[in-house]
């Protein structure tokens, strides 16, 4: 036993030395009390760029040669390692070739049996890549101008500050770091303890987001979008929060303006619905009453004029109703359901046939069972308008054919209503969809030019597009897509 112990120790020491020597990722070496190197492993050669033979006997001040006073630095490190039992730091070091690398270094004192310090062991890792990535990240965050990105400690005190934060909130980094983040809030929010509620909510749910008024350094307010995320360390412990703030004041103002304009428009269409109709009612009513009163005293010409007044009043009243419906389309909510467009087309066609029995010769081809998702009432209006148009514009065609069907274009369902009627000049294709824009005179084909504007608005509200193709006297095709993605919407809910 007594004999074998030193042998075993010796073996262990040899094995251990071999092991340490072979480690490539860590520089592990030993230095004496003054910092002179007396062992050097492969990792050290790799990281520092020196062979053992080049550095053994040299002072580690060699690696600090870019510092102002390398010897002092070495002494300070070793003194601290001696006093506290270890010294750890991260910092830049210099390789043999003069290049610099970022290290994490640990120095521990080596003691002999009597407790006397014989030297130090030093373990160094090359963390340049991590350091560079971190610095890049910091530069990136710092350079972000549109987002205020900053860190809070776990009590809500500001720890870092980027240029976006300076720009949005008006504080320089040195003014705000160390201050509590509640100073960005309005008095009302502070009084209701909103800032700490935000942090608590972020901890509970892992993320807190809101929009609200915040206060700049100069006291002015801005409308902010705020995202707060708790920062947890490797041990699962909360160490602070990251906070991303965007200034959405302009958007907020634009929204408010839009809302005002919208309200005005609403008030306008409301008064249109009331006030424009009333005089028409009088015109229609009194011209009829007049006709009754005069009755036999009325010559045919006068009677004709009275009837023109009435029919004009009726037309205008219809026009007002159509316009109101058009404006209402943008306001009403979409009630999305599964709709069999083919069935809608069939019913609409039957109705048109009933109202216009004289044109029984029209051939209508409907591809069956084309299901879509959309607002049934609005889609009916689409089909009514498109089919009525096709009906109307084939009135001068010898063998009129109207078809409704579906094709695919770039993987998307495209529905179409096609006719072989009057068609139109493609130069004016866009004009078809504007309100009151007609390509044919009222004598040729009656109508008020609101139908396709209505159709387009409905299609847009369904996230789709509508296009028209045609040639004069060769018919027209209206193609539309529907993308209400109601299933996606339901999923979200």
């Amino acid at each position: 036993m007594n004999r074998s112990k030193p042998v075993q120790d010796n073996l262990e020491q040899q094995d251990f030395r071999k092991l340490v020597d072979a480690i490539p990722d860590y520089a592990i070496f030993m230095i004496d009390r003054d910092g002179k190197i007396f062992s050097w492993n492969q990792g050290a050669s790799r990281i520092y760029g020196y062979d053992g033979s080049e550095v053994i006997g040299q002072n580690i001040a060699l690696f600090y040669r870019d510092e102002e006073s390398p010897e002092k630095k070495v002494k300070a490190e070793l003194d601290e390692a001696e006093a506290k039992g270890r010294y750890q730091e991260e910092g830049w070091r210099t390789r043999k070739d003069g290049s610099r690398f970022w290290t994490n270094a640990l120095i521990t004192p080596l003691k002999d049996e009597s407790g006397q310090i014989q030297g130090f062991g030093k373990i160094t890792r090359d963390l340049t890549e991590r350091k560079v990535a971190e610095e890049r990240y910091r530069d990136l965050v710092d350079s972000v101008k549109d987002y205020g990105i900053f860190m809070l400690d776990k009590n809500g005190f500001v720890q870092s500050w980027n240029s976006g934060a300076s720009r949005i909130k008006g504080y320089r980094a040195d003014e705000i770091i160390g201050q509590h983040f509640s100073r960005f809030y309005t008095q009302v929010d502070i009084d209701r303890d909103h800032p700490s509620a935000e942090l608590e909510s972020a901890i509970e749910t892992g993320r807190y987001e809101e929009e609200g008024w915040r206060v700049r350094k100069d006291g002015t307010r801005f409308w902010a979008n705020v995202i707060i995320t708790p920062v947890i360390n490797a041990g699962g412990e909360l160490i602070g929060f990251s906070k991303v703030t965007r200034n959405l004041t302009e958007r907020k103002i634009a929204e408010e303006e839009l809302k005002r304009a919208y309200d005005e428009l609403e008030a306008f269409s409301y008064s249109v619905s009331h006030d424009l109709r009333a005089p028409l009612r009088s015109m229609a009513g009194f011209s009829e009453i007049l006709e009754e009163l005069l009755d036999e005293k009325l010559d045919p010409r006068s009677r004709d004029y009275l009837s023109r007044i009435r029919s004009s009043a009726r037309k205008m009243s219809q026009l007002i109703d159509d316009l109101l419906n058009l404006s209402r389309l943008s306001r009403a909510s979409l009630n999305v359901d599964k709709v069999n467009l083919s069935e809608v087309a069939t019913k609409v066609t039957e109705e048109i046939r009933r109202s216009d029995p004289e044109r029984a010769n029209i051939q209508v081809e409907i591809q069956p069972n084309l299901w879509v998702e959309g607002d049934p009432n609005l889609l009916r209006i689409v089909m009514e308008n498109l089919l009525n148009n096709a009906w109307k514009y084939t009135s001068k065609t010898e063998k009129p054919v109207i078809s409704f069907g579906r094709t695919q274009k770039s993987g998307e369902d495209v529905f179409f209503v096609r006719d072989n009627g009057a068609g139109f000049d493609m130069r004016f294709a866009e004009k078809l969809f504007g309100a009151f824009q007609r390509l044919h005179s009222v004598d040729e084909f009656p109508g008020n030019g609101i139908g396709l504007a209505t159709v387009r608005r409905i299609i847009h509200r369904h996230g789709g597009e509508i296009t028209a193709n045609g040639k004069p006297n060769e018919g027209a095709t209206f193609s539309f897509t529907l993308r209400p993605s109601p299933t996606a919407e339901k999923d979200r809910k």
Binding site: H274, R277, L280, R281, S282, A284, G285, F286, E288, S317
Partner: protein, 153 residues
Amino acid sequence: MSQGQPIVLLIDDDPNDQELAKIALEKSQIPHRLMVARDGAEALAFMRSASGSATTAPQLPHLVLLDLKLPKVNGLEVLELLRAENETSIVPIVVFTSSNEERDLERSYELGANAYIRKPNDFKEYKDTVADMGRFWILRNQSPPTAAGRMTS
């Protein structure tokens, strides 16, 4: 137009609409006495006096035709106030208006309108509508129960 005939109260500020309603009611041949209030305030004053007092018997209308867009007190306010008063709470009130705004319709029914009818712009339809209302509310319906109750007590 005798005293005993059923009262129709038209609340409308447009003289043309007043005239059209008058003609339409005349043509309907339904016995009635037309009273016109040109704004909400006049309407409320009329209804207050029609509710009677300690010494006078109430003479509530059999039918109120109420326009919504009125000066001073608007139609919906009139409706709300009439429904809140005990004496007038069950008087048939038909909102008769140009508006076909959904929210006017909803609000009118919420506030207790008996019907909401959009004034037809075509005079034939207009006449038919007024005649229908007259037949339903004046000929078919009895005197408002509260009025009858007050008269016998």
